[in-house]
Protein backbone atom coordinates (compact mmCIF):
# COMPACT_ATOMS: atom_id res chain seq x y z
CA UNK A 1 0.00 0.00 0.00
CA UNK A 2 2.78 2.41 1.06
CA UNK A 3 4.64 1.47 -2.08
CA UNK A 4 1.73 2.48 -4.35
CA UNK A 5 1.22 5.71 -2.44
CA UNK A 6 4.88 6.58 -2.92
CA UNK A 7 4.60 5.75 -6.62
CA UNK A 8 1.50 7.96 -6.89
CA UNK A 9 3.34 10.80 -5.15
CA UNK A 10 6.34 10.39 -7.46
CA UNK A 11 3.96 10.34 -10.44
CA UNK A 12 2.29 13.53 -9.22
CA UNK A 13 5.64 15.29 -8.89
CA UNK A 14 6.61 14.16 -12.37
CA UNK A 15 3.17 15.38 -13.48
CA UNK A 16 4.05 18.85 -12.20
CA UNK A 17 7.12 18.86 -14.43
CA UNK A 18 5.05 17.61 -17.39
CA UNK A 19 2.55 20.43 -16.74
CA UNK A 20 5.19 23.18 -16.66
CA UNK A 21 6.97 21.77 -19.70
CA UNK A 22 3.77 21.61 -21.79
CA UNK A 23 2.80 25.16 -20.76
CA UNK A 24 6.20 26.50 -21.81
CA UNK A 25 6.45 24.51 -25.06
CA UNK A 26 2.86 25.11 -26.17
CA UNK A 27 3.30 28.59 -27.77
CA UNK A 28 6.17 27.25 -29.91
CA UNK A 29 4.20 24.30 -31.20
CA UNK A 30 0.79 25.95 -31.61
CA UNK A 31 -0.39 25.78 -35.23
CA UNK A 32 -3.47 27.96 -34.82
CA UNK A 33 -2.05 30.92 -32.98
CA UNK A 34 -2.75 34.41 -34.31
CA UNK A 35 0.51 34.59 -36.30
CA UNK A 36 -0.14 31.29 -38.07
CA UNK A 37 -3.75 32.27 -38.79
CA UNK A 38 -2.73 35.58 -40.36
CA UNK A 39 0.43 34.40 -42.14
CA UNK A 40 -1.21 32.91 -45.29
CA UNK A 41 -2.90 36.25 -46.15
CA UNK A 42 -0.11 38.55 -45.01
CA UNK A 43 2.96 38.72 -47.26
CA UNK A 44 6.23 39.53 -45.51
CA UNK A 45 7.08 43.22 -45.00
CA UNK A 46 3.85 44.46 -46.59
CA UNK A 47 0.72 45.92 -45.05
CA UNK A 48 -2.21 43.56 -45.58
CA UNK A 49 -5.77 44.45 -44.61
CA UNK A 50 -7.42 42.08 -42.14
CA UNK A 51 -11.08 41.43 -42.96
CA UNK A 52 -13.55 42.65 -40.36
CA UNK A 53 -14.97 39.87 -38.16
CA UNK A 54 -18.50 38.64 -38.89
CA UNK A 55 -20.54 35.96 -37.10
CA UNK A 56 -19.76 33.56 -39.97
CA UNK A 57 -16.04 34.06 -40.21
CA UNK A 58 -13.28 35.94 -38.46
CA UNK A 59 -9.54 35.87 -39.04
CA UNK A 60 -9.01 35.57 -35.27
CA UNK A 61 -11.28 35.10 -32.27
CA UNK A 62 -12.03 38.05 -29.99
CA UNK A 63 -11.43 40.74 -32.63
CA UNK A 64 -12.94 44.13 -31.87
CA UNK A 65 -15.57 44.72 -34.61
CA UNK A 66 -15.40 48.51 -34.12
CA UNK A 67 -11.90 48.62 -35.60
CA UNK A 68 -10.53 48.51 -39.11
CA UNK A 69 -7.28 46.60 -38.96
CA UNK A 70 -4.29 45.62 -41.02
CA UNK A 71 -1.13 43.71 -40.24
CA UNK A 72 2.43 43.89 -41.43
CA UNK A 73 4.17 40.56 -40.95
CA UNK A 74 7.80 41.50 -40.71
CA UNK A 75 11.14 39.82 -41.14
CA UNK A 76 14.10 41.93 -40.10
CA UNK A 77 16.80 39.53 -41.32
CA UNK A 78 17.36 41.70 -44.44
CA UNK A 79 17.53 44.95 -42.47
CA UNK A 80 15.40 47.44 -40.53
CA UNK A 81 11.87 48.40 -41.49
CA UNK A 82 10.20 51.77 -41.84
CA UNK A 83 6.58 52.06 -40.83
CA UNK A 84 4.27 54.99 -41.45
CA UNK A 85 0.64 55.05 -40.43
CA UNK A 86 -1.61 58.04 -41.14
CA UNK A 87 -3.77 58.94 -38.17
CA UNK A 88 -7.51 58.52 -38.61
CA UNK A 89 -10.13 60.88 -37.20
CA UNK A 90 -10.84 58.96 -34.01
CA UNK A 91 -8.23 56.63 -32.59
CA UNK A 92 -5.36 54.84 -34.25
CA UNK A 93 -2.98 52.43 -32.63
CA UNK A 94 0.03 50.45 -33.74
CA UNK A 95 0.89 47.35 -31.68
CA UNK A 96 3.98 45.20 -32.10
CA UNK A 97 3.95 41.46 -31.47
CA UNK A 98 6.72 38.87 -31.53
CA UNK A 99 6.46 35.68 -33.58
CA UNK A 100 4.80 34.10 -30.54
CA UNK A 101 2.13 36.79 -30.17
CA UNK A 102 3.67 38.59 -27.19
CA UNK A 103 2.92 42.32 -27.34
CA UNK A 104 6.16 44.19 -26.72
CA UNK A 105 5.29 47.72 -27.75
CA UNK A 106 2.28 49.80 -28.67
CA UNK A 107 1.76 53.41 -29.53
CA UNK A 108 -1.40 55.37 -30.27
CA UNK A 109 -2.00 58.52 -32.28
CA UNK A 110 -1.99 60.78 -29.25
CA UNK A 111 1.29 59.42 -27.89
CA UNK A 112 2.83 59.87 -31.35
CA UNK A 113 1.42 63.40 -31.48
CA UNK A 114 1.45 63.84 -35.26
CA UNK A 115 -0.67 63.39 -38.34
CA UNK A 116 1.41 60.38 -39.32
CA UNK A 117 2.90 57.83 -36.92
CA UNK A 118 6.42 57.14 -38.21
CA UNK A 119 8.55 54.42 -36.73
CA UNK A 120 11.75 52.54 -37.46
CA UNK A 121 11.68 48.90 -36.46
CA UNK A 122 14.95 47.08 -35.99
CA UNK A 123 16.62 44.48 -33.82
CA UNK A 124 18.90 45.51 -30.96
CA UNK A 125 21.94 44.53 -33.08
CA UNK A 126 20.82 46.67 -36.00
CA UNK A 127 20.22 49.56 -33.61
CA UNK A 128 23.75 49.24 -32.24
CA UNK A 129 25.21 49.14 -35.76
CA UNK A 130 23.51 52.38 -36.76
CA UNK A 131 26.10 55.09 -37.50
CA UNK A 132 26.14 57.89 -34.94
CA UNK A 133 25.48 60.77 -37.32
CA UNK A 134 22.54 58.99 -38.89
CA UNK A 135 21.04 58.68 -35.46
CA UNK A 136 21.07 62.46 -35.11
CA UNK A 137 19.25 63.03 -38.39
CA UNK A 138 16.86 60.27 -37.44
CA UNK A 139 16.32 61.76 -33.99
CA UNK A 140 12.81 62.84 -34.85
CA UNK A 141 11.88 59.29 -35.79
CA UNK A 142 10.86 56.79 -33.18
CA UNK A 143 13.00 53.68 -33.04
CA UNK A 144 11.42 50.45 -31.84
CA UNK A 145 13.61 47.48 -31.03
CA UNK A 146 12.16 44.09 -31.87
CA UNK A 147 13.20 41.25 -29.55
CA UNK A 148 12.76 38.75 -32.40
CA UNK A 149 13.64 38.76 -36.11
CA UNK A 150 10.06 38.06 -37.18
CA UNK A 151 6.75 39.19 -35.82
CA UNK A 152 3.56 41.10 -36.48
CA UNK A 153 2.63 44.77 -36.48
CA UNK A 154 -1.08 45.32 -35.96
CA UNK A 155 -2.38 48.65 -37.30
CA UNK A 156 -5.86 49.50 -36.07
CA UNK A 157 -8.18 52.47 -36.50
CA UNK A 158 -11.42 52.92 -34.57
CA UNK A 159 -14.71 53.61 -36.31
CA UNK A 160 -16.62 55.32 -33.47
CA UNK A 161 -19.86 54.76 -35.40
CA UNK A 162 -20.52 52.08 -38.03
CA UNK A 163 -20.87 54.79 -40.68
CA UNK A 164 -17.28 55.86 -40.10
CA UNK A 165 -15.88 52.43 -40.95
CA UNK A 166 -14.85 53.43 -44.53
CA UNK A 167 -12.86 56.35 -43.06
CA UNK A 168 -11.07 54.03 -40.65
CA UNK A 169 -10.44 51.49 -43.40
CA UNK A 170 -8.91 54.08 -45.71
CA UNK A 171 -6.63 55.35 -42.92
CA UNK A 172 -5.42 51.81 -42.30
CA UNK A 173 -5.06 51.09 -46.02
CA UNK A 174 -2.73 54.08 -46.39
CA UNK A 175 -0.27 52.62 -43.89
CA UNK A 176 3.11 51.59 -45.28
CA UNK A 177 5.71 49.20 -44.03
CA UNK A 178 8.85 48.99 -46.18
CA UNK A 179 12.47 47.93 -45.90
CA UNK A 180 14.53 50.92 -44.82
CA UNK A 181 16.88 50.74 -47.88
CA UNK A 182 14.06 49.97 -50.28
CA UNK A 183 13.32 53.24 -52.13
CA UNK A 184 9.95 52.19 -53.52
CA UNK A 185 7.08 51.35 -51.21
CA UNK A 186 6.06 47.74 -51.26
CA UNK A 187 2.36 48.34 -51.75
Amino acid sequence: MIRWLLLALGGALLGGIVHLATIIILPRTATHDAYSRLAPDAPVNTVAAVPAPTPESAPMPFMDPAFASAVCRYDLSQGPLKLSVPVSLAYTSVSFYTRYDVAYYAINDRAAGRRVVELDLMTADQHNQMPEDEEITAADRLIVESPTLTGLIAIRALAPEPGLMPMAQSAVAAAKCVRAEDPKPSR
Partner: protein
Protein backbone atom coordinates in the same frame (compact mmCIF):
# COMPACT_ATOMS: atom_id res chain seq x y z
CA UNK B 1 7.31 -7.32 -12.99
CA UNK B 2 6.46 -5.32 -9.91
CA UNK B 3 9.00 -2.70 -10.91
CA UNK B 4 7.55 -2.45 -14.41
CA UNK B 5 3.98 -2.17 -13.12
CA UNK B 6 5.06 0.41 -10.57
CA UNK B 7 6.85 2.57 -13.14
CA UNK B 8 3.94 2.39 -15.57
CA UNK B 9 1.61 3.39 -12.75
CA UNK B 10 3.80 6.37 -11.81
CA UNK B 11 4.10 7.47 -15.44
CA UNK B 12 0.34 7.19 -15.94
CA UNK B 13 -0.23 9.34 -12.85
CA UNK B 14 2.32 11.86 -14.20
CA UNK B 15 0.59 12.04 -17.59
CA UNK B 16 -2.89 12.45 -16.11
CA UNK B 17 -1.81 15.05 -13.53
CA UNK B 18 0.45 17.01 -15.90
CA UNK B 19 -1.76 17.11 -18.97
CA UNK B 20 -4.89 17.49 -16.85
CA UNK B 21 -3.45 20.52 -15.08
CA UNK B 22 -2.39 22.02 -18.43
CA UNK B 23 -5.82 21.47 -19.95
CA UNK B 24 -7.50 22.92 -16.86
CA UNK B 25 -5.22 25.98 -16.79
CA UNK B 26 -5.76 26.68 -20.50
CA UNK B 27 -9.53 26.20 -20.58
CA UNK B 28 -9.89 28.45 -17.55
CA UNK B 29 -7.62 31.04 -19.18
CA UNK B 30 -5.62 31.32 -15.99
CA UNK B 31 -2.74 33.77 -15.75
CA UNK B 32 -1.03 35.67 -12.99
CA UNK B 33 -1.97 39.17 -11.93
CA UNK B 34 -5.69 39.42 -12.71
CA UNK B 35 -7.43 42.74 -12.06
CA UNK B 36 -10.98 41.91 -11.00
CA UNK B 37 -13.64 44.59 -10.56
CA UNK B 38 -17.14 43.24 -9.95
CA UNK B 39 -17.73 40.58 -12.57
CA UNK B 40 -15.05 42.05 -14.87
CA UNK B 41 -11.54 40.66 -15.08
CA UNK B 42 -8.55 41.93 -17.03
CA UNK B 43 -4.97 40.73 -17.24
CA UNK B 44 -3.08 43.96 -18.00
CA UNK B 45 0.28 42.19 -17.83
CA UNK B 46 -0.73 39.83 -20.66
CA UNK B 47 -0.33 42.76 -23.06
CA UNK B 48 3.34 43.28 -22.19
CA UNK B 49 6.66 41.44 -22.62
CA UNK B 50 6.21 40.45 -18.99
CA UNK B 51 3.35 38.09 -19.93
CA UNK B 52 3.73 34.91 -17.87
CA UNK B 53 3.96 31.43 -19.49
CA UNK B 54 0.32 30.69 -18.67
CA UNK B 55 -0.83 33.84 -20.44
CA UNK B 56 1.40 33.06 -23.44
CA UNK B 57 0.10 29.49 -23.65
CA UNK B 58 -3.54 30.52 -23.43
CA UNK B 59 -3.06 33.24 -26.08
CA UNK B 60 -1.45 30.70 -28.42
CA UNK B 61 -4.22 28.21 -27.80
CA UNK B 62 -7.08 30.68 -28.36
CA UNK B 63 -5.30 32.21 -31.37
CA UNK B 64 -6.02 35.83 -30.55
CA UNK B 65 -3.73 38.83 -30.41
CA UNK B 66 -3.71 40.26 -26.87
CA UNK B 67 -4.50 43.95 -26.45
CA UNK B 68 -1.11 45.59 -25.94
CA UNK B 69 -0.91 47.62 -22.76
CA UNK B 70 0.14 50.78 -24.64
CA UNK B 71 -3.05 50.40 -26.66
CA UNK B 72 -5.59 49.55 -23.99
CA UNK B 73 -6.94 47.04 -21.51
CA UNK B 74 -9.62 44.40 -22.15
CA UNK B 75 -12.01 43.41 -19.36
CA UNK B 76 -14.03 40.22 -19.76
CA UNK B 77 -17.24 39.26 -17.96
CA UNK B 78 -18.72 35.80 -18.26
CA UNK B 79 -21.01 36.02 -15.22
CA UNK B 80 -23.30 38.57 -13.64
CA UNK B 81 -22.44 40.22 -10.32
CA UNK B 82 -23.95 37.26 -8.44
CA UNK B 83 -21.68 34.81 -10.23
CA UNK B 84 -24.30 33.27 -12.53
CA UNK B 85 -23.11 32.53 -16.08
CA UNK B 86 -24.46 34.97 -18.65
CA UNK B 87 -27.34 33.43 -20.59
CA UNK B 88 -28.43 34.92 -23.93
CA UNK B 89 -32.07 34.02 -23.27
CA UNK B 90 -32.20 36.26 -20.18
CA UNK B 91 -32.54 40.03 -19.94
CA UNK B 92 -29.26 41.39 -18.60
CA UNK B 93 -28.65 45.04 -17.81
CA UNK B 94 -25.25 46.72 -17.60
CA UNK B 95 -25.45 49.94 -15.64
CA UNK B 96 -22.89 52.43 -14.43
CA UNK B 97 -19.79 54.15 -15.72
CA UNK B 98 -16.37 53.07 -16.95
CA UNK B 99 -12.88 54.11 -15.84
CA UNK B 100 -11.42 57.13 -17.64
CA UNK B 101 -10.40 56.29 -21.20
CA UNK B 102 -10.31 58.12 -24.51
CA UNK B 103 -12.56 55.54 -26.11
CA UNK B 104 -14.06 52.27 -25.05
CA UNK B 105 -15.93 49.51 -26.82
CA UNK B 106 -18.12 46.74 -25.50
CA UNK B 107 -18.57 43.59 -27.56
CA UNK B 108 -20.59 40.41 -27.14
CA UNK B 109 -18.98 37.10 -28.16
CA UNK B 110 -19.91 33.47 -27.79
CA UNK B 111 -17.53 31.43 -25.65
CA UNK B 112 -15.34 30.68 -28.71
CA UNK B 113 -14.76 34.39 -29.31
CA UNK B 114 -17.03 34.62 -32.36
CA UNK B 115 -19.55 37.40 -32.90
CA UNK B 116 -23.19 36.39 -32.39
CA UNK B 117 -25.48 36.82 -35.41
CA UNK B 118 -28.52 39.05 -34.95
CA UNK B 119 -31.12 40.85 -37.04
CA UNK B 120 -29.58 44.33 -36.84
CA UNK B 121 -25.91 43.33 -37.20
CA UNK B 122 -24.98 45.00 -33.95
CA UNK B 123 -22.18 43.25 -32.11
CA UNK B 124 -21.32 45.91 -29.60
CA UNK B 125 -21.15 49.59 -28.82
CA UNK B 126 -18.42 52.18 -28.86
CA UNK B 127 -18.31 54.90 -26.21
CA UNK B 128 -19.48 57.38 -28.83
CA UNK B 129 -22.66 55.50 -29.75
CA UNK B 130 -23.96 55.10 -26.21
CA UNK B 131 -26.93 57.18 -25.04
CA UNK B 132 -26.21 58.37 -21.52
CA UNK B 133 -28.17 59.70 -18.56
CA UNK B 134 -27.72 63.31 -17.48
CA UNK B 135 -25.05 62.29 -14.95
CA UNK B 136 -22.97 60.51 -17.59
CA UNK B 137 -23.87 56.98 -16.54
CA UNK B 138 -25.39 54.59 -19.04
CA UNK B 139 -27.49 51.47 -19.25
CA UNK B 140 -27.09 48.74 -21.83
CA UNK B 141 -29.78 46.07 -22.19
CA UNK B 142 -28.37 42.73 -23.36
CA UNK B 143 -31.52 40.88 -24.36
CA UNK B 144 -32.66 38.49 -27.08
CA UNK B 145 -35.56 40.79 -28.12
CA UNK B 146 -35.49 44.43 -29.17
CA UNK B 147 -35.36 46.85 -26.29
CA UNK B 148 -35.59 50.66 -26.14
CA UNK B 149 -32.36 52.53 -25.37
CA UNK B 150 -28.97 50.93 -25.77
CA UNK B 151 -29.92 47.47 -26.98
CA UNK B 152 -27.19 44.89 -27.42
CA UNK B 153 -28.76 41.78 -29.01
CA UNK B 154 -27.73 38.54 -27.32
CA UNK B 155 -29.00 36.42 -30.21
CA UNK B 156 -30.51 33.99 -27.73
CA UNK B 157 -27.29 31.99 -27.40
CA UNK B 158 -26.89 29.86 -24.31
CA UNK B 159 -23.60 31.32 -23.10
CA UNK B 160 -21.85 34.53 -23.99
CA UNK B 161 -19.07 36.75 -22.74
CA UNK B 162 -18.87 40.53 -22.73
CA UNK B 163 -15.56 42.24 -23.43
CA UNK B 164 -15.15 45.89 -22.41
CA UNK B 165 -12.01 47.37 -23.95
CA UNK B 166 -10.63 50.66 -22.70
CA UNK B 167 -8.38 52.43 -25.19
CA UNK B 168 -5.75 54.99 -24.24
CA UNK B 169 -6.39 54.63 -20.55
CA UNK B 170 -4.38 54.94 -17.36
CA UNK B 171 -5.72 51.59 -16.14
CA UNK B 172 -2.81 49.18 -16.22
CA UNK B 173 -0.50 46.84 -14.37
CA UNK B 174 -0.34 49.00 -11.23
CA UNK B 175 -4.10 49.61 -11.03
CA UNK B 176 -5.85 48.34 -7.91
CA UNK B 177 -9.57 47.68 -7.86
CA UNK B 178 -11.22 50.60 -6.12
CA UNK B 179 -13.14 53.80 -6.54
CA UNK B 180 -10.96 55.14 -9.38
CA UNK B 181 -11.87 52.17 -11.56
CA UNK B 182 -15.65 51.90 -11.59
CA UNK B 183 -17.04 49.26 -13.93
CA UNK B 184 -20.65 48.84 -14.98
CA UNK B 185 -22.70 46.49 -12.80
CA UNK B 186 -24.00 43.37 -14.53
CA UNK B 187 -27.46 42.31 -13.32
CA UNK B 188 -30.02 39.80 -14.57
CA UNK B 189 -33.41 41.52 -14.80
CA UNK B 190 -35.44 38.53 -15.80
CA UNK B 191 -35.21 35.06 -17.21
CA UNK B 192 -37.88 33.24 -19.18
Amino acid sequence: MRLLLGSLFALAVAAVVGLGATYFALTRGAAFGPLTIGSWTAWPKTGTVGADPYARASIARVGRLPTALGDGVAFTASTDDKGRLLDGRCDVVLAGVTPAARFWTITLYNTDGELVANSINRFGFTSQEIVRHADGSFEIAVTPRANPGNWLPSGGVERYVLVLRLYDTAVGVSTKAGREVPMPAVAVRGCP
